[in-house]
Symmetry: C2
Subunit: 400 residues, 2 copies
Amino acid sequence: MNIIKGLEISTINCGIKYKNRDDLLLIHFSEPANVAGVFTKSSMAAESVLWCKNSLKNKSARALIVNAGNANAFTGKEGALTVKKTAEIISKKLKCQKDEIFISSTGVIGEILNHKLIINGVEEMIKHFNNDKDSWNKASKAIMTTDTKQKIVSRKCKIEDKTVNITGFAKGSGMIAPNMATMLGYIFTDADIPSEILQKLLSEINEKTFNSITVDSDTSTNDTVLLFATKKAGNKKIKNINDTNLVSFKKNLYDVMLNLAKMIVVDGEGAKKLIEVNVSGAKSIKQAKNVALAIANSPLIKSAFAAADPNWGRIAMAVGKSCFETSPQKILIKIGDYIIAKNGSKIPSYNEKIVHNYLTKNEVEINVDLGLSKVKINKATIYGCDLNEEYVKINKDYRT
Amino acid sequence: MNIIKGLEISTINCGIKYKNRDDLLLIHFSEPANVAGVFTKSSMAAESVLWCKNSLKNKSARALIVNAGNANAFTGKEGALTVKKTAEIISKKLKCQKDEIFISSTGVIGEILNHKLIINGVEEMIKHFNNDKDSWNKASKAIMTTDTKQKIVSRKCKIEDKTVNITGFAKGSGMIAPNMATMLGYIFTDADIPSEILQKLLSEINEKTFNSITVDSDTSTNDTVLLFATKKAGNKKIKNINDTNLVSFKKNLYDVMLNLAKMIVVDGEGAKKLIEVNVSGAKSIKQAKNVALAIANSPLIKSAFAAADPNWGRIAMAVGKSCFETSPQKILIKIGDYIIAKNGSKIPSYNEKIVHNYLTKNEVEINVDLGLSKVKINKATIYGCDLNEEYVKINKDYRT
């Protein structure tokens, strides 16, 4: 894991919900960092999301604070007050503008988040900032809720002759669906890239990573991904998104985001298997994504795959309900590389036992061609997971 | 339960899938019955659905055959052959036109349905037709798959001075979602009503009954509801859908269909609770239905309700992801008659324990007003169910 210079990290247990683990994270940028962000599209967006959207206009970040255990969503005036008080104490203690502060919350919706806990936490956290591997580890753990594993990914690449680092961490496991997963993601780089270009990169890559995962088709009130650039790598400043010096950075940023996204899916509540759904031969990218989502979200497919059961008829069902233009005669259904059905029926050589064995793997693929177009770009990939009894158990017991 | 005159019933175990229970149903109309139908919108519709759509053009029914255990969907030429052979044997044995025969299948998708089993079954069934309570009971059981209970509803009403009967039965529990549930439904009346009027009544009432239920958001390849009129009640023929003599019939038909629809939801795989979701204050009926579906389909809400947990924040989440025009300030959230949240936050007098107690009931309501319109008709009701570990277990083990 690569440490990103130009910032310091502190975590603490401030007592919001969890015992014996940190639930509050504060990151302080020693100098204003460039910043980009993408957020939930929910009309019930949390107070912290509204705050971040406003701070983002400023294109400059001095601090990030994240709490776990309470979403501070649908909390009305008190919720807005908590965010205001949080910004006030950080602004005062770290001597920065309020709109240079980014705030995130994750946890139960509709419960009041006591701002005094946050204030006390901030006062304590500023006493022991650090920037070593241990503090990055702690940061990635402090933002977890029902996550069973921390999620942190690092890459190193070059911009011209300068080495730049990208390190991101994320949380998320339930209420995961595009626009976006119940997830928080924070990516840091020491590269010198202006906020406008960071924003374009983040928005574009987000579509194919965090916005292409689904655990349960639910969309959260708090989803946030922020990308910060501390400008410490010493590279020549990038002025244009088409700058060829950005190629490797973009590839590595995609890699960090895709890996974090997949880690969220694999840590889906009760999930045991990553299911990659590829849909091609559509009339548009949107249509391909729509069908891929219908497949990845189908509880019937998800539970069959949990038992390594190649119940491909359920894949046909999901295509049928999400795309009225195709027909059994047109579509091709594959599980992994195994062709199962084409020309309107199961192929004669289909061997269920072999496909069952394939489905016992931890990462499996569903490949569907809709047969509506030969245009190669009209395709989409969605990353989902299987459905096990534990999902229901976790979500029954969530508040008990 | 009221017997409908003008038809005879036979059931048998023909050996498609199940042992020790009937899996094939044949109904013979002694004279041509009027008929109406609504079907799945899936582009992967089963062979039997395509067959029925064609027979329906004829507006006359002499026979209905239904098998359980195999959907005969995505079965290509062999699947079409099975339907053809089925029609041939019935046409020959019951001396009727092939396009007076209605065929349904339900069960696993993509497996070949052996037409010889059906042919042998028909030859046996025609030897012991009957029309007593026992045969109606057997009919409603022969079409079941993962259903745990038979579903049959009867009503009696008047058209002018003549008593008419309506009796319907249905099957369905998994792969249940609008357009339509994995369900088959057959409704019979002895009233004399022309096919065109039956079709209008069926289509209209279907929207608010079978097309307003959801168990798991999946839509099947085989969904079919057929309404037959044997014309034996001796009422004056109805010539117009606005005929005032139809008022009571329409109300009772709605009652039969709504009750069957609710029975399907309550028998949802692993379900223990009926959840009625009412959404009002929308800009359109379509918007209200869309939000109600998002709530009823949310696995997070469904699993919370399974534990009688009034986790209303998840209701806010589902509204947020399905309606981008509203806001926490506009919406009103009630569980049953208990107001939980309005004006952007939880109300001060909210007592979680009381609402928890309410949620231990077998039938519960979620009521949401979107605050976008005062137009009273801009509302919708969706009937859903809770989500328990058994749902996953049933669907993991379905084919084993």
